[in-house]
């Protein structure tokens, strides 16, 4: 039995995983990162438009601060988020940008003086302040009151990932590449690490760790049409689920990005619309103001995607041999702006559509983009039910996005969660809870189970094709668990997925070699993905309301009275064909921002019985604290600073909020 011992095992080498690893390493712990691919190839690199942090450097960002970012994020989440976690996040985001600036990220910078930008289709002159010259610049993104999205042209994720990846090398963090975790090792109450397969040699090794952190990103590939990279298959969530102990939160909360290029689904950034790009229909008509007079193209993603599909349903889509789509028009931004600030977009349009976006419109249609749900954790990133298991980034549900994530908040979350959870993991390792007696029988048994599982795929003589099952799953999810959901569709999806899951227990392979065998990988991953897909579909079927990105045509209203609660999915028995769903209520009485209207989308919702009482209480607290500064008002409403790790407490300085 081969065993690798480490203090902290991080599964996933994207931005969240690497930043967790650096944090724990800096605190003196031995860290090992597992990655399916060289870490700089992680899907974090695909984040184009930028990361939100309330620096308030540009003219249109003046007056921005944590409070405004908090409010935007909670409204964006349709009140599904844990508001304390949102506070922790918005407080740390400016620190994250500044840390990355020190690590060499070439943030686009403010240039003092006049410049012309496109707002609402019209050229507008903005004047940037002299004292902001050279500071990190911000652009506009959807669902935000201020220009808050810090960016590096439109290669933000790439620049961040390379800076953090290089810091991981500088800190001597070992990354075990082309290694895949197949199962978590646990005894029902504590996690001891993972069984890991070498994707080149096929060898199985037990990695034993005091703390194990899942940072594997999203599950977009359970859908046919997705912007996600091919490695974003929700495997980290499946690992947690298959313990039977850890829970997944809100898996039905799936985001569809308005502008996937059609039909390939490759992302073009929200920055296109943030910088002034418009959505047009088959007739060239700019339709978003008809639906959303206030935020227009820059409402939150769930709202814009729904409006686009609604417009296509009304018969206004442009027709093509692959189906219907709409147009994204960025020609009005001018060639210079596109070649400077949207150069990835230009490359993508040239390579995949054969068009020049400075001259022609881009064919787009909403595509699956982000998994709001994930491994349910507390605010420290630790599983609430399996000790020693942590999660960070898109794979986690700690839960800062609720039912809809704002653009620019995910790449920000990766590094912020990495900073915070890295510290919390170090705290855990330094506490008695982090001590570990490793029962080797547990390791041996876990290795045996996985070996048997692989052998039965390789030699069991099954008759089902993993590729075919996977394709059927993806088609079902895209057809029936998409932007518009109905009870009938979701029932069909759940029963269809159950059938696929049963069939997946009889997968057979044509190529029977262990080692570099892509068919074997597809086989075991498909079995896991089907469980994740079932969590999404059955969570969506059970949730008889509409909230954020989860929209039920048969239950179009947000129902705070019945559904202001988080879905928790567990997979009790390996023989089950459905997850077990439970619910965790959100406490209105502790919310800083009680539920209300988001400022865009539907105004129609059912109040929670506590909402009026809490709103009055918040109003009274605000009045009582009105003499103090905004920090003391906030502290009166919902204290959170004590929740942050000591290393990241403290105010954020701004041009308009100087520190002594």
């Amino acid at each position: 039995m081969k065993v690798v011992y480490t203090d902290v095992l991080v599964i996933g080498g994207g931005l969240a995983g690497l930043r967790v690893a650096i944090g724990a390493r800096r605190r003196g712990h031995d860290v090992t990162v597992l990655s399916l691919v060289p870490p700089k190839r992680s899907h974090s690199a695909a984040a184009q438009g930028g990361m939100q942090a309330s620096l308030g450097n540009v003219a249109k960002g003046q007056g921005d601060n944590e409070d405004v970012h908090f409010e935007d994020t909670v409204k964006g989440s349709d009140w599904g988020a844990d508001q304390r976690v949102v506070r922790m996040f918005v407080d740390t985001a400016p620190k994250a940008v500044r840390e990355l600036a020190a690590w060499g990220v070439p943030w686009s910078r403010v240039r003092e003086g006049d410049r012309t930008v496109i707002i609402n289709g019209q050229p507008v002159t903005l004047t940037e302040r002299a004292e902001a010259h050279g500071l990190v610049a911000q652009r506009d993104f959807g669902g935000t009151k201020k220009w808050r999205t810090c960016y590096v042209s439109d290669g933000t994720g790439h620049a961040m990932l390379f800076a953090v990846g290089d810091q991981a090398i500088a800190h001597g963090v070992p990354v075990h590449e082309r290694k895949e975790a197949l199962a978590l090792i646990h005894d029902g109450s504590r996690c001891y690490g993972a069984v890991v397969r070498d994707l080149v040699t096929g060898e199985l090794v037990a990695y034993a760790a005091r703390a194990t952190c899942i940072a594997t990103g999203g599950a977009g590939r359970v859908y046919r049409v997705t912007t996600n990279a091919v490695i974003c298959e929700g495997i980290g969530s499946a690992l947690a689920l298959e313990t039977g102990v850890a829970t997944l939160g809100n898996m039905e909360a799936v985001q569809f990005h308005p502008t996937g290029i059609f039909p390939a689904g490759i992302l073009v950034t929200e920055g296109c619309r943030g910088d002034g790009g418009l959505l047009r229909d088959a007739n060239g008509h700019r339709f978003m103001p008809d639906y959303e007079p206030e935020k227009k193209e820059l409402a939150s993603r769930d709202v814009v995607s729904r409006r686009m599909e609604e417009h296509i349903r009304k018969g206004h889509g442009a027709k093509s041999r692959f189906g219907e789509h709409l147009w994204l028009d960025i020609t009005l931004l001018g060639r210079k702006h596109i070649e400077h600030n949207l150069r990835e977009v230009k490359e993508i349009c040239q390579s995949f559509l054969g068009i020049d976006p400075a001259e022609q419109w881009i064919a787009v249609r909403p595509a699956q983009h982000y998994t709001m749900g994930g491994v349910r954790t507390d605010h420290t990133g630790q599983s609430t039910t399996l000790r020693g298991l942590f999660a960070a980034g898109e794979a986690a549900c700690w839960d800062m996005h609720g039912f809809n994530r704002l653009g620019g908040n995910s790449v920000a979350e990766t590094v912020v969660a990495g900073m915070l959870v890295g510290e919390f993991i170090a705290d855990f390792c330094e506490s008695p809870a982090g001590d570990l007696d490793i029962p080797t029988v547990l390791l041996r048994e876990a290795l045996r189970v996985e070996r048997d599982r692989l052998d039965s795929l390789l030699q069991g003589g099954g008759t089902e094709s993993a590729d075919a099952l996977k394709a059927s799953m993806q088609q079902l999810m895209t057809d029936r668990v998409g932007i518009f959901r109905t009870g009938a569709d979701l029932e069909a999806a759940v029963s269809g997925l159950q059938e696929l899951l049963l069939r997946s227990r009889n997968i057979g392979l044509r190529h029977r070699k262990d080692g570099p065998n892509p068919e074997l990988v597809t086989a075991y991953r498909t079995q896991k993905m089907l469980k994740v897909a079932l969590c999404i579909a059955s969570g969506a079927l059970a949730r008889t309301e509409s909230r954020g990105a989860h929209f039920r045509e048969d239950y179009p209203r947000r129902d705070d009275a019945g559904w202001l609660r988080r879905t928790l999915a567990t997979w009790r028995d390996p023989a089950d064909t459905l997850p077990t769903l439970a619910y965790e209520p959100l406490d209105v009485m502790t919310m800083e921002l009680p539920p209300g209207w988001r400022g865009y989308g539907a105004r129609d919702y059912v109040d929670h019985p506590d909402t009026a009482r809490r709103a009055a209480e918040v109003q009274a607290l605000r009045e009582r604290a009105a003499q103090g500064d905004r920090h003391s008002v906030q502290a009166a409403l919902m204290p959170y600073e004590h929740l942050l790790p000591a290393a990241f407490r403290g105010r954020n300085e701004r041009i308009d909020e100087r520190q002594a």
Partner: protein, 250 residues
């Protein structure tokens, strides 16, 4: 003869000649295998290879991650030229398409090579990170300003995706296993440009002022021709060579 373009409406049968080998399998012999596929509209090599694996040979090894030209996973030699497979459209290729793994990197199997190990080794050797002046920068304070044009110029060089195409196209790298390649030299140029990194030309000379570094370059500039991100490698290498020569003469 019109082999290089597709008439609208016409369907070509493409022949993919793929170099195959599993170096860990004692019975494996390097060989070329041919697969035939009907071309589809908008078909990229990502789509074509996926179809081959799904329908014709489940064992075919290759690497894709983002399939959008961003992550650099899918570098391979396409009709003799290193490039990113995901954004290569079959309509731009003749009906016979030869695919081979990138040379200069350790072969994993078929079209899959270990660029990760090579790139990490290069990064460790060249210390491709900001050597912070003070490691404990106060994160609560306003960030240090930077000239906007300088930030843009750094990003221009920071766009490298470490795909390995430049190394595969490099004459020196084929002869000298320890050559840092255009990817390494470009990184040095990038950090030398960045005022946040306190290292001086003398420090960089220690890293690349030799035949494994900038003086090993024979100026064939295959790197510049094949770079999928169109990085200004020619200029950067020439500039770095001049600076390092000056530093060496001292």
């Amino acid at each position: 003869m019109n082999q290089t373009t597709t008439e609208p409406g016409s369907t070509r049968t493409l022949r993919f000649h793929v170099l195959r080998h599993d170096p860990r399998d004692a019975a494996s012999v390097p060989r070329t295998e041919t697969f035939e596929l009907e071309e589809a509209a908008g078909m990229t090599l990502f789509i074509a290879l996926g179809e081959i694996r799904e329908r014709l040979d489940p064992s075919l090894a290759f690497d894709f991650v983002c399939r959008a030209g961003i992550c650099g996973s899918c570098g391979m030699v396409i009709n003799g030229r290193p490039g990113l497979a995901c954004r290569t459209l079959t309509r731009d290729l003749p009906t016979d398409i030869t695919l081979a793994p990138l040379p200069a990197f350790e072969l994993i199997a078929d079209l899959s090579v270990d660029t990760g190990k090579w790139m990490r080794g290069m990064s460790e050797r060249l210390e491709t990170w900001i050597h912070e002046v003070s490691p404990d920068v106060d994160l609560g304070r306003i960030e240090a300003p930077m000239d906007p044009d300088l930030a843009d110029r750094i990003y221009e060089l920071d766009r490298c995706i470490e795909c390995g195409c430049c190394v595969a196209a490099c004459g020196t790298a084929r002869m000298r296993k320890d050559f840092v390649g255009a990817v390494g030299l470009n990184k040095i140029a990038r950090f030398a440009l960045d005022p946040r990194d306190p290292r001086k030309d003398e420090d960089y000379y220690e890293l690349v002022g030799n035949d494994e570094g900038v003086f090993g370059c024979m100026t064939l500039l295959g790197c510049h021709d094949v770079c999928p991100k169109n990085l200004p490698l020619q200029t950067q290498i020439a500039f770095l060579r001049r600076r390092m020569a000056r530093t060496g003469v001292g």
